[in-house]
Symmetry: C2
Subunit: 465 residues, 2 copies
């Protein structure tokens, strides 16, 4: 019994000691992030010297070159480009739209083409409008009421949900599949209320898909600002015969070659166990992609820099991956997973930051219950940094294809209240990123990577059959 007590005491003292070491390492990570800053400078370059980085654009290539050079300068063990073919969609001349209550009596409204949309006819498209709250309304209305019209999807994001991503999830089907659905009922175009919780004048773009729709049956799709949507909706109530006109000249070109940018620190004990941290390098073209996802890229780069700067030698291989083409194809994420499979690489952990550069609140995890328990055991290490959220949930689009039994997939969860004010709109710009908030995110990510590297990912228990 005495022995047992002694052993327990030793264990406790060891645990206590380990926690102190961890607390000190994590403190150093945060202090380095907040003083010896690099992430914000990188983001400044990506945002203000390069700008929006749509897949296949010159800016996307500039971003590949720039981030590779920056990773080269960090003294990592290896930095390389991973080729990937990406779609090239181009917005063309700025879109234009108005609605007309009677000939000559028109009101301009701000719109933008959805990513992947076809153009309108050269002279634009004018038609009557039918307002719906969602795709499910189309069936009730039927072809008779939809044919020849522009379908106006106007379901707003739910303001009562605290997590604004949930509000987004509850609405984004209108944007993604609205054109495909409406075309089946003979609509000639769709206009979708912007995914924005705020009432303002900025249209928010984003990806859409025609699914199986034949090329000849594809109809143009645009987003309208939330204020524009409210105005149009009220106008339609007063005058259901209101016509909507819009003109967009966007175009899909052949796929072009681009790259994922990858860098790694080789593990000292388990070099074959790979831990990935990443964001996506491409962005939409309206803003400069500072929050989505320049922030996630520079934070991910900073994770490796912070581990090096604080003198930590990882046991496992820590890899930063800046994925190309998350926004309109996910080709980078798919390619990375495909190559990993070909090379029989063993990924044990992946963390993505793709929810804005705001104050970090915690992480969501797609992993086994045992690993989630393990993370929750580290809660007190994160508490001094006001990181409270350790929940089961979505990780990230780019790391999704890597998913495998036994892996830990995680997503950084920054404060979400301001995100959809900027998401995919022209005001996703550098000045809306706060330096400290960005740095706190990078430090939180580095701390989680440190802990999982040091203590490992728990293997999934085989259930006896």
């Amino acid at each position: 019994m005495k022995r047992l007590i002694l052993l327990s005491l030793l264990c406790l003292s060891f645990l206590g000691h380990a926690q102190t070491d961890d607390a000190e390492q994590i403190k150093e990570i945060y202090e380095t992030a907040l003083t010896d800053d690099k992430a914000y400078d990188w983001l400044n370059h990506l945002s203000n010297q390069i700008g929006g980085r749509l897949s296949g654009s010159v800016q996307a290539q500039q971003a590949v070159d720039y981030t590779k050079a920056q990773l080269d300068s960090l003294g990592l063990d290896r930095v390389w480009l991973q080729p990937v073919m990406v779609p090239k969609w181009v917005r063309g001349t700025p879109e234009f739209a108005y609605f007309e209550t009677s000939p000559g009596l028109s009101t301009n409204v701000p719109i933008c083409a959805l990513g992947g949309s076809v153009a309108t006819p050269l002279g634009g498209l004018k038609a009557n409008v039918i307002e719906v709250k969602g795709i499910e309304d189309l069936k009730k209305l039927g072809s008779e009421k939809i044919k020849g019209k522009i379908v106006f999807y106007n379901r707003p994001m739910d303001p009562t949900l605290i997590d604004t991503y949930s509000s987004y999830s509850g609405c984004v089907d209108q944007r993604y599949s609205g054109a495909e659905a409406a075309a089946k009922f003979g609509a000639v175009g769709v206009v979708v209320r912007s995914m924005n919780l705020r009432l303002d004048d900025l249209p928010h773009t984003g990806s859409m898909s025609y699914g199986e729709t034949a090329v000849s049956d594809r109809i143009p799709a645009a987003a309208i600002s939330t204020n524009g949507a409210e105005l149009l909706s009220t106008t339609l109530k007063l005058n259901p015969e209101t016509k909507f006109y819009f003109k967009q000249s966007c175009k899909q070109f052949d796929d072009v070659e681009s790259f994922n940018v990858v860098g790694e620190i080789k593990g000292s004990e388990f070099p074959d166990e790979i831990m990935v941290v990443g964001g996506h390098l491409d962005s939409w073209d309206l803003g400069d992609g500072s929050h989505d996802d320049g922030a996630g890229c520079v934070q991910s780069m900073d994770v490796l820099r912070l581990l090096k700067r604080t003198g930590y030698k990882p046991k496992r291989t820590i890899r930063v991956v800046l994925f190309m083409n998350e926004e309109n194809g996910l080709r980078g994420g798919n390619k990375y997973a495909e190559v990993a499979l070909q090379k029989k690489e063993k990924h044990v952990f992946a963390l993505e930051s793709d929810a804005g550069g705001f104050t970090p609140r915690g992480f969501s995890f797609d992993c086994s219950a045992a690993n989630l328990e393990r993370v929750r055991g580290w809660k007190n290490l994160f508490e001094p940094y006001l990181i409270h959220l350790f929940v089961k949930g979505y990780s990230g689009a780019d790391i999704g294809p890597l998913k495998e039994e036994g892996m830990v997939l995680a997503g950084l969860r920054p404060d979400s209240q301001r995100y959809f004010v900027h998401h995919h709109a022209e005001n996703d710009t550098f000045e809306h990123v706060n330096k400290r908030e960005l740095e706190l995110g990078a430090a939180s990510m580095a701390s989680l990577v440190y802990l999982f590297d040091k203590y490992g990912v728990l293997p999934t228990k085989k259930i006896k059959g």
Copy 2:
């Protein structure tokens, strides 16, 4: 034994039921705040129609009139103005400053007078500069090195502290007492690095005091922007003979009458137990005082509105107090406490919001351990709203004078990362307040008030002597 189990089960079921009721009430509070919005409109008026509300100014009076009228419209049981004499300090013509490395070779830098400072001589003040990191440096230097010079306080806020208020506390003595201290060593003026964690071009004002310094010995005090401070510091290293010139025409007038704005809902069971929720209506004059503390005022007003809108009938008297003159005198807070004492009012609880309108993270409490335990028992009710912080600590300046054994004093703790970018500077403006963040703060406050009203404040146990 059986009886005990039965009783326990009953208790548990009752507790479970109570928690469900509470969860529902709180959900309704949040949903109402996020949809049936009023706080943001009020703030818009305070900020954009009225603007900066320095004590004794016309704008401060407009703010009194406006908020009283708004409270009148809420159907409270009583709304009134509580007279209070406040200091009237006026900035005068915009300040001007430069430093000069040799005659004619000068560089302009952005400064502003500190609140309460005397003016420079009419033609301005030019003198050599001595840079220090804090008041404690003055003694080491002694009169010989300080006499006839301008003392330049240049200790930056510590960027490694996660709670930026701690960084502020660690620096603000330079601003508040720097002039008093320097005058003792024969300095002719002081220039203080702005309390800002960001490097930018905006000077941040704030209160200062001459303490016991005789009127004839008072020296002018100004804040310089953080970029300006860096520039001046580097210049002084290159050329210690650099002279600093500044001119400010601020002036202190006689005290004038102003008001605290008060409104209340009478308690149904314990009308004599008063619970206060408040912010301060005055602000500095450089910006429009949106974060400091327009946000706290409209949130406090919204607490009463939200309780009414959700149909909750408070047991205790819930009082909103918009305090006048927090920034440069605390006369409103002192007067309110003084009148409460005169009238033998029993205050059991006070909550202040005076830390910006950012995403709420929780509350800090100045109260007994038992009451803090009680709050922590409500943690799970707040978790769905991402309110995690329930710590012992500072409550608020205005409610401080109310403090009495047995009371619960609390302060809303919003995210602090962006606060000192705006605090007391010309960019403390409406567009930097996010509507949802503001509303979440109001809902969090209303929920805390609801719980303390329903369950009461625990009495302090008398320790047997």
